[in-house]
């Protein structure tokens, strides 16, 4: 659906995006993560044909922005960082105005306006001026605008920012549903829990690509791992035993639970468990604690 090869963008000598290449398959949710100024928005703008790359190639649904900019813009929907709605007209008028540029028939346009305003809980306020809307309502309206022409590819820049937990949950559920319609979602977010729960593939960028993989692959490749031991006794009695092995770090104790980080689970876990058993610990469970996307992200960004 999207193919990017050696993409570079420079602004007055500053390299915002440096030689990135990736591929996004149809119906995939592609989590695009990175710190502020990492080049995420610039990349989205290049993919959406709004700015031209300095070097490299982009293919969106097999077409290039330089030749087929209008076609590409007709099959994409974009939620920008700021909602950007006309404040002095109603929500309905806003959606009708923006959707009119996609050449959709008026009847379908009206149906879609109703569908999305109802979906995002704005139908009752459809005729109110946008200036009377809260920040969260404007965000939902902007999301409705991005979806109004039923795009094949959706670029979402912080879709749940400014939303209350209930609305954020609803939006996340909706994004998950888009997969069933084979809509490709390019998700830019600082909410790593959200990225972790939604993304099929995660791309971490800091001007250059740091890592692209599925969450499972990232967890598998993360250096070191965490182990959790549940025992019959108070776990604090055995904290020193684990410390003395010299194999574990970040030891945490909570009631009958003992958690620690180790470099090599294959070598360290059997030794630590043996020591614990020899010291009289009655072990109930041993679990591998998978690294969160946040831990992986911070590790990669720091390194």
């Amino acid at each position: 659906m999207i193919r990017v090869e050696n993409l570079t963008k420079k602004f007055a000598g500053i390299t915002a995006v440096d030689d990135i290449s990736f591929k996004v398959d149809e119906g995939c949710i592609f989590g695009f993560l990175g710190p502020n100024g990492a080049g995420k928005t610039t990349t989205i703008r290049m993919l959406a044909t709004l700015i031209k790359p300095t070097e490299g190639s982009i293919f969106v649904n097999g077409r290039t922005p330089s030749k087929d900019g209008e076609y590409i813009r007709s099959i994409i929907g974009i939620l920008t960082e700021t909602p950007g709605m006309y404040e002095k007209i109603s929500a309905c008028a806003n959606l009708d105005y923006f959707s009119s540029f996609y050449g959709i028939e008026e009847i379908r346009r009206k149906q879609n306006i109703e569908k999305f305003l109802k979906l995002f809980g704005l139908w009752d306020r459809r005729n109110d001026l946008v200036s009377t809307y809260s920040k969260g309502m404007k965000q939902k309206l902007a999301l409705a605008r991005a979806l109004i022409h039923e795009p094949k590819i959706l670029f979402l820049d912080e879709p749940t920012a400014a939303l209350d937990p209930e609305s954020a949950f609803m939006v996340r559920s909706f994004i998950e549903q888009l997969k069933n319609d084979k809509t490709t979602v390019f998700l830019c977010t600082h909410n790593l829990e959200e990225a972790s729960s939604l993304s099929d593939v995660v791309c971490i960028i800091k001007n250059r690509i740091i890592k692209i993989a599925t969450l499972e692959e990232l967890q598998k490749n993360k250096k070191g791992s965490n182990t959790e031991v549940i025992m019959a006794q108070d776990a604090s009695l055995f904290e020193q035993v684990v410390k003395d092995t010299g194999l574990a770090s970040n030891i945490a104790v909570e009631n009958n639970r003992l958690a620690f980080s180790i470099e090599s689970p294959e070598k360290s876990n059997p030794l630590i468990i043996k020591k614990l058993v020899n010291s009289g610990a009655e072990i109930i469970y041993i679990n591998e604690l998978k690294a969160s996307l946040e831990e992986i992200y911070l590790d990669l960004i720091k390194s």
Partner: protein
């Protein structure tokens, strides 16, 4: 073109709602299209009682026959130049408001992310600025003609309007001027983040019109067909230059990266 019309339709509604745009235009229109022409036409008799005025008309307009007709022609030439104020002023008020409001509400990025062509967007903005300007200039033209002709006919049995100069000003010079001011205002607005400063700089763009008015009032020259056609020719040369510059400013990448945003 369809998309430009959509933009025009949406924006013209906002212009109509915006009192700060149409109130000054309404005031100027009433002053220069109703009060002054009616007052001066009605007072022609009293002006002509002054021997200096009749001498002036005889010398400047080489008039030896109908003094009233000559005086009315002189007054009409003075109004004509004021008629240029509308096509100059209105675009300098509308175009900056239209662009700066888009910046303030951050609607430019989602708008240029639709399949619209930037040329269509520029055309839409241009229409929003030029159509009311042309419409009001035309209404003023009709108003002055009706008022002056009615009063002049009642008082002196004369129908001095319309003249060829009058047509040139309304149908050629005004639209050209309006187009240039619109393009200049769009270019200026790309660098402004608030309406007042954009309109303030826009007002400077129409300074040459004030200069022409001042020079004519000072008696340095009197507009005639030769001057008007020469003016049209000069401005026609300027048109493609400002258009080229506006198109360059209206590039998607320029809008997102070089325009000064709020």
């Amino acid at each position: 073109m369809k998309n430009s019309i959509k933009i025009f339709k949406k924006e013209i509604k906002e212009v109509i709602k915006n009192r700060s745009i149409w109130l000054p235009i309404l005031a100027i229109s009433i002053m220069f299209s109703v009060i002054f022409p009616a007052g001066l036409t009605m007072s022609t008799d009293s002006f002509l009682k002054d021997p200096d005025t009749t001498n002036f008309i005889a010398k400047v307009l080489q008039n030896t026959g109908n003094v009233e007709a000559a005086f009315l022609q002189f007054i009409i030439k003075q109004f004509m130049i004021f008629l240029l104020l509308i096509p100059a002023m209105l675009p300098s008020l509308i175009a900056p408001a239209s662009i700066v409001l888009e910046k303030e509400s951050s609607t430019l990025e989602p708008l240029i992310a639709t399949p619209i062509k930037t040329g269509e967007l520029l055309m839409g903005k241009t229409l929003t600025s030029m159509v009311p300007s042309f419409a009001i200039s035309f209404i003023n033209f009709v108003l002055i003609t009706v008022i002056v002709d009615t009063l002049a006919y009642i008082r002196f049995g004369l129908v001095p309007l319309p003249t060829l100069e009058w047509f040139i000003v309304t149908f050629i010079l005004s639209p050209i001027l309006s187009f240039i001011i619109t393009m200049a205002s769009i270019i200026i607005s790309s660098k402004s983040t608030d309406i007042r400063s954009a309109q303030g700089i826009g007002a400077v763009v129409i300074f040459p019109i004030y200069a022409v008015i001042g020079m004519q009032l000072a008696g340095l020259f009197l507009l005639n067909i030769k001057y008007l056609l020469a003016g049209c020719l000069v401005l026609l040369v300027v048109c493609p230059l400002v258009l080229k510059l506006a198109i360059r400013v209206f590039d998607r990448e320029n809008i997102l990266t070089k325009w000064k945003m709020k």
